[in-house]
């Protein structure tokens, strides 16, 4: 499959590059202190933070992956939004942001230091720093490989181009640059994908026709009609849906453990809220973000569903076919190539490029902050001037990008290592939310409890993975390397359950060890860090539609309604 571009498409892409660099250039004079560079001077309005909050999460790989899942699994993919994002986003805004923002911690690991102790912070900071560098390297590799196939671009050229542009704008404008470009990306994604969905829907004859076509897809794959267009109706047994998951795994594994673990503790997203200009704005950030987030399935999942319907209608020619199976990862590109003429094609491509670059910039800004404040200031050179750390931040930006490029090249030669590392990160991340939840809502949780809880949660994740295997998979990276005690119907089901085991282990062990050890912080030290010791925020002057609890209720309510409509 190849997409042919014309001059006009390249012009649009270049306009975007120029503005991105221009924004960095315009912001450079506002970056004077470490706070400006790492935290945008805590001066960003809520709506800007909110849009950045979801854009930072929506990298190009997610756009491509969500369309692929839409084609492969249908509307059940929306669980990653309506179950796996909205409740957690409401929770972090209403309950957790007062501690993140109020404690004046400059990063998520720093919160762990204030709340627990040095070793818990170190564990989190180091694993997070390594993880961000790797994930931006991997997405760089993925995109450069894709552009090579689709557009015939040179692999090295794609890597160098994206690295240099991201480097320039972060180096000049710091976190503000990253946030502004994420907002830009948000608009580009909406404007680039909306006409695609409209044309696709029109072509297939509207939603009702799409449902009929997708029924054919479902029956053709050996499932009941409606499997591609009902989000819950076929989750009674994993055998009834192509994801191979049951409702309990979706609710607990995805909706609770994985989702809260990501949205409530990942510094990549939390950093966007920490940059807000007030406590109220910080709390509203994830809640504002939740509104477009719950509508995004229409932009990123629906194109995949249309693509697979078109594939069936066209007797298997719409998507490229590999080994008798449609190549789902090409869904979004097949749609772009089919419905967009040159011109719009440039816009669609620019939107993908923007989501890729801002995803990468998000990783870089989170990395340079954690590196400078939590690792460099924490362990290498404490007690230096703000100017010193600002310089370090600039160096860390260059270093982080160089390391990412290194990882991208590593991925070209050792794909297995990359898969392995991603697996290890998944183990480290799975139990995290238990540590934060106990930290924020149980004042008795101690540093030793947290650290060893996290460690045992990670080990539990690894053990569970080593002892189970998804159906039709070989022993190795997919699991079973300690002997297969249980077979899951799908990889996704295994992931959900790995998370559930890890979280539960961390939760129980943290409580047990905390009860057995002495509290390492006084109540006075924990003020502003733990729920029961922090005065409630009261602002009776805020209108109801700006109050976090009210906004939270509205977004969660809306998500429930969406789940019911597409049940």
């Amino acid at each position: 499959m190849e997409i042919k571009l014309q001059a006009v498409d390249y012009v649009i892409l270049c306009v975007y590059f120029l503005f991105v660099i221009g924004i960095g250039w315009a912001l450079r004079k506002y970056v004077k202190t470490g706070t400006d560079f790492f935290l945008s001077g805590r001066a960003i309005p809520a709506w800007v933070c909110g849009l950045a909050f979801i854009s930072a999460n929506l990298g190009a790989q997610e756009v491509i992956g969500m369309a692929a899942s839409g084609a492969k699994y249908g509307i059940m993919t929306s669980h990653f939004y309506w179950v796996g994002a909205i409740p957690a986003m409401a929770f972090v805004g209403i309950f957790m942001m007062p501690f993140y923002y109020g404690s004046k911690a400059r990063s998520v690991p720093e919160y762990l230091k204030l709340r627990y102790d040095e070793k818990t912070r170190g564990f989190n900071a180091i694993s997070f720093a390594v993880m961000t560098v790797f994930s931006s390297g991997i997405s760089m590799y993925a995109l450069a490989s894709l552009f090579k196939i689709l557009l015939g671009w040179n692999f090295h050229f794609s890597i160098v181009l994206s690295a240099v542009i991201v480097l320039i704008y972060i180096f000049l404008g710091g976190l503000t640059s990253a946030i502004y470009n994420e907002v830009l990306q948000f608009f580009l994604i909406v404007l680039g994908l909306l006409p695609l969905v409209l044309l696709g829907l029109k072509d297939i004859g509207g939603w009702d026709q799409l449902v009929l076509k997708l029924n054919e897809v479902a029956i053709g794959n050996g499932y009941a009609a409606g499997t591609w267009t009902d989000s819950w109706a076929h989750t009674g047994s994993p055998a009834n849906n192509p994801m191979g998951v049951e409702w309990f795994g979706v609710v607990m594994g995805l909706g609770f453990v994985l989702s809260f673990g990501y949205w409530c503790t990942d510094f990549l997203v939390v950093q966007r809220a920490m940059a807000a200009n007030s406590m109220a704005a910080a709390r509203r950030t994830p809640l504002i973000a939740a509104i477009p987030k719950m509508l995004f399935p229409a932009l990123v999942i629906l194109p995949g569903m249309i693509a697979i319907a078109m594939h069936v209608q066209s007797k298997g020619t719409f998507l490229p076919v590999e080994n008798g199976q449609p190549n789902y990862n090409m869904a979004i590109f097949a749609m772009l190539g089919h419905y967009f003429p040159q011109g719009m094609l440039g816009l669609g491509l620019t939107a993908l490029m923007a989501s890729f670059m801002s995803g990468m910039a998000g990783n870089v800004t989170a990395f340079n902050t954690v590196w400078t404040y939590d690792i460099y200031q924490g362990y290498i050179r404490p007690g230096q001037s703000d100017k010193h750390y600002l310089t370090m931040g600039h160096i860390a930006t260059v270093g982080g990008i160089l390391l990412s490029v290194g990882c991208a090249y590593l991925a070209t030669r050792f794909n297995n290592i990359m898969d392995f590392l991603q697996l290890v990160f998944a183990f480290v991340n799975a139990p995290l939310f238990a540590t934060f939840m106990l930290g924020m809502f149980w004042r008795r949780a101690t540093g030793h409890g947290a650290f060893f809880g996290l460690l045992s949660g990670t080990v539990a994740a690894a053990l569970h993975h080593g002892l189970t295997l998804p159906k039709d998979c070989v022993v190795g990276i997919k699991g079973g390397w300690l002997g297969s005690m249980h077979t899951y119907p799908s990889e996704m089901a295994q992931n959900f359950w790995t998370a559930i085991f890890a979280w539960t282990t961390c939760f129980v062990i943290t409580i047990l060890i905390s009860l057995a050890t002495r509290a390492n912080k006084t109540d006075e030290e924990l003020k502003g860090l733990v729920y029961s010791l922090t005065p409630r925020i009261k602002d009776p002057d805020t209108p109801w539609y700006k109050q976090p609890a009210m906004l939270g209720l509205i977004v969660v309510g809306a998500a429930v309604v969406l789940n019911v409509i597409f049940w």
């Binding site: 306009v15 975007y16 506002y30 419905y339």
Partner: protein, 70 residues
């Protein structure tokens, strides 16, 4: 915060909108383009939409600057 993001963003969409609109007009008689998109001149239509969004963003940014100055 000293730079209103709506200004550069608005300018960018004005420019991209203009490029698409002009390209759409220039290729209006060439059926190859509309063939893709169910017969619509999508470059022209969506170019105008993007241009309008750019204009709104610039307008909002200017209004905010004026309100600040006043």
């Amino acid at each position: 915060m000293n730079l209103d993001i709506r200004m550069p963003m608005g300018l960018m969409f004005l420019l991209i909108g203009a490029i698409l609109t002009v390209f759409g007009l220039a290729t209006n008689c060439d059926p190859i383009y509309a063939e893709h998109s169910l017969g619509y001149n999508v470059n022209l239509i969506w170019g105008l939409v993007i241009f309008a969004i750019g204009a709104i963003l610039v307008f909002l940014a200017r209004r905010a600057t004026k309100a600040q100055a006043a």
